[in-house]
């Protein structure tokens, strides 16, 4: 008795949902718009002179939790544009079969050289297709749209606000709080290490 009415009511819900717009899309013909921060594959970047940004500092290779980045470092030489001695890559591979897309390599890069892309790699037929070589990574710079995140943007976002910095990523323009919390915490931390040094100096002066 109750089963029938409840089943009919459930059927009514189904009918109501039939009038709602579909949530699925025909995938290969139509591709979902991805968010600005969406991250899948990787790319290595050049600077405005067309020189490689990567200075082969090994920071990303060290931070990678699944150890998928392998780097060969070329001997240091002078840059033809800036004239400074800097490191260069000889070879760079990133194994996507074991990558967990944690974005830590992007965050630690001192020169914003490695970034992630918003379009994934095309599925391959061999395991080698899933290993990003240096050529593929440099090709991705222009072949694929890049994500928002670079090392400097991520670090800027995480740094405590200095005074009244205007940040676009804030929700409310009214700034009432920042003066209270963050600077108050950093000050004692900066002051404390100075104390033992001062004491040590005083002791050293008294001793002779």
């Amino acid at each position: 008795m109750g089963y029938l009415t409840d089943s009919l009511r459930a059927l009514g819900t189904t009918l109501r949902n039939m009038r709602r717009p579909a949530t699925t899309i025909p995938f290969p013909q139509q591709i979902r718009e991805r968010e600005e921060r969406f991250r899948t594959s990787f790319a290595l970047l050049h600077d405005e002179n067309g020189e490689e940004l990567c200075v082969a500092c090994l920071a990303c290779e060290r931070i990678c939790p699944s150890e998928v980045i392998k780097m060969k470092v070329a001997p240091k030489r002078e840059s033809p544009f800036s004239g400074k001695r800097r490191g260069y890559l000889e070879d760079f591979t990133l194994d996507l079969t074991a990558c967990i897309y944690c974005e830590l390599c992007v965050q630690v890069c001192p020169t914003d050289a490695i970034v992630m892309t918003r379009v994934p790699e095309v599925p391959g037929f061999d395991r080698e297709d899933l290993v990003l070589t240096m050529d593929k990574l440099y090709a991705n710079e222009h072949a694929k749209p890049l994500t928002w995140a670079t090392a400097s943007k991520l670090n800027e976002m995480q740094e405590p606000p200095k005074v009244a910095k205007v940040e676009p990523a804030k929700t409310e323009p009214a700034k009432t709080e920042p003066a209270k919390s963050a600077p108050a915490k950093t000050e004692p931390a900066a002051a404390e290490p100075a104390k033992p040094a001062a004491v040590a100096e005083a002791v050293a002066q008294e001793a002779p």
Binding site: A10, N17, A59, P65, W148, Q158, P161, A169, T171, E177
Partner: protein
């Protein structure tokens, strides 16, 4: 233990009570059964269709996460635990990061604590939606629910994954928490998207309710099934919705507030019955409560920095003194704790030993007590109501 039964076989249906001529049969339920929600095996000893004894076997999804976390440094560990409870990765990250923060004595800024609360509650909604969908699927397509509710719940859950994608860039493996705060601040206009989504979701939960918890077929299949009484629940160390459905008023969000739960108080949902229906009711009500919490937290979201620790630059940058800490949070499944023993000195950059207390493992330990006496079709319902996630059980 304060229960009437001292062992699973002594519960309500004992082996020696079975007729000696009974033709007992052993049935391996799983490990590849779709209703086990992962790779999990229960050895069922059956008398006809009635379960006499149930012996669970876990460990098919063991990946050595705890050992891996001993190898990795404090800075590298967070993205690994995303894969433990793969239905609520945000909660996993938070549990680990909170233990590390306690160990390294790092404060979390107020804004980051609010963001963590919002992520945690959105993740709770997503996790419970997935549970409701798969639970209706476990019931079969007999009611208007079945695969229909499954599809509706997954559709609504996508909205939360989209919201997380907008903040972190990942749909599932976020790596958005770090020691001392968060890695990503919310983008411009994100809070409006969240509020619009919650306004859309609220009537849809009522819709799902009308097809499940208010549906008489659903009630007939869940009422009085898989009873866990108060003593058994406490004796087995159950937590989360399972414990609250058995009439124990316990919620870490209220009893040991972390994040910003002391500023945004939680109303704890408790049911007395302790059966599958009570567990379903608790979870559906928790979704509503989570919607309220997210709205309240977004309204009171403070300005300021999101990270007070060191920004991750190299793996060995966090050094801990030797010691041990335990930090726990209330995930959608219950108390997820992380126990860390830190080796000091030159071994101070990585945990010496790390143990994860997973709520799903304790939930599964109730099976030998509650399954005997039920039919095979009820085994699926009982297992679904416990909401176990095998990635978390086996780790």
């Amino acid at each position: 233990m304060a229960t009437a039964a001292n062992s699973p076989t002594e519960s309500r249906y004992r082996l020696d009570q079975v007729d000696a001529d009974a033709d007992l049969m052993v049935l391996n339920f799983g490990p590849q059964h779709p209703s086990t929600h992962g790779v999990f095996r229960i050895k069922l000893i059956l008398d006809g269709e009635i379960v006499i004894r149930a012996i669970p076997y876990a460990g098919y999804l063991h990946r050595g996460v705890e050992k891996l976390l001993e190898k990795l440094t404090y800075a590298q560990g967070v993205p690994i635990v995303d894969k433990n409870d793969y239905v609520s990765p945000m909660s996993n990250e938070q549990a680990l990061v909170m233990a590390f923060e306690k160990l390294l004595k790092v404060e979390v800024p107020r804004r980051a604590r609010y963001l963590r609360l919002i992520f945690s509650e959105l993740q709770r909604i997503a996790s419970h939606l997935l549970w409701l969908g798969t639970f209706a699927l476990d019931m079969g397509g007999a009611l208007g629910g079945g695969s229909t509710v499954f599809m509706y719940c997954f559709r609504d859950r996508e909205g939360i994954l989209d919201l997380f994608e907008a903040v972190t860039g990942g749909r599932f493996h976020y790596n958005t928490h770090t020691i001392g705060g968060n890695r990503h601040d919310i983008p411009l206009g994100w809070d409006k998207r969240v509020l619009a989504y919650l306004d859309m979701l609220e009537p849809r939960i009522a819709e799902c309710e009308s097809m499940t918890t208010n549906n008489s077929i659903f009630v007939a299949r869940t009422q009085g099934i898989g009873l866990i009484d108060k003593d058994l629940a406490q004796g087995l160390g159950l937590s989360g919705p399972l414990l609250r459905a058995s009439g124990v008023d316990h919620d870490l969000r209220r009893d040991a507030p972390y994040h910003a739960y002391d500023e945004v108080p939680v109303r704890v949902m408790v049911e007395q019955a302790g059966d599958c229906q009570a567990r379903a009711l608790v979870r559906v009500r928790e979704m509503r409560e989570s919607i309220r919490l997210v709205r309240e937290a977004l309204a009171g979201l403070p300005e300021g920095g999101i990270n007070s620790g060191k920004i991750i630059k190299m793996p060995q940058q966090f050094k801990a003194q030797s010691g041990q800490v335990y930090a726990a949070i209330e995930t959608p499944r219950g108390e997820l704790g992380t126990f860390v023993i830190a080796g000091g000195g030159d071994k101070g950059t990585a945990p010496y030993r790390l143990k994860i207390r997973a709520p799903s493992l304790h939930a599964l330990s109730a099976l030998p007590w509650i399954l005997p006496g039920h039919t095979i079709s009820d085994v699926v319902v009982v297992l679904g109501s416990l909401d176990p996630i095998m990635g978390e059980v086996d780790r």
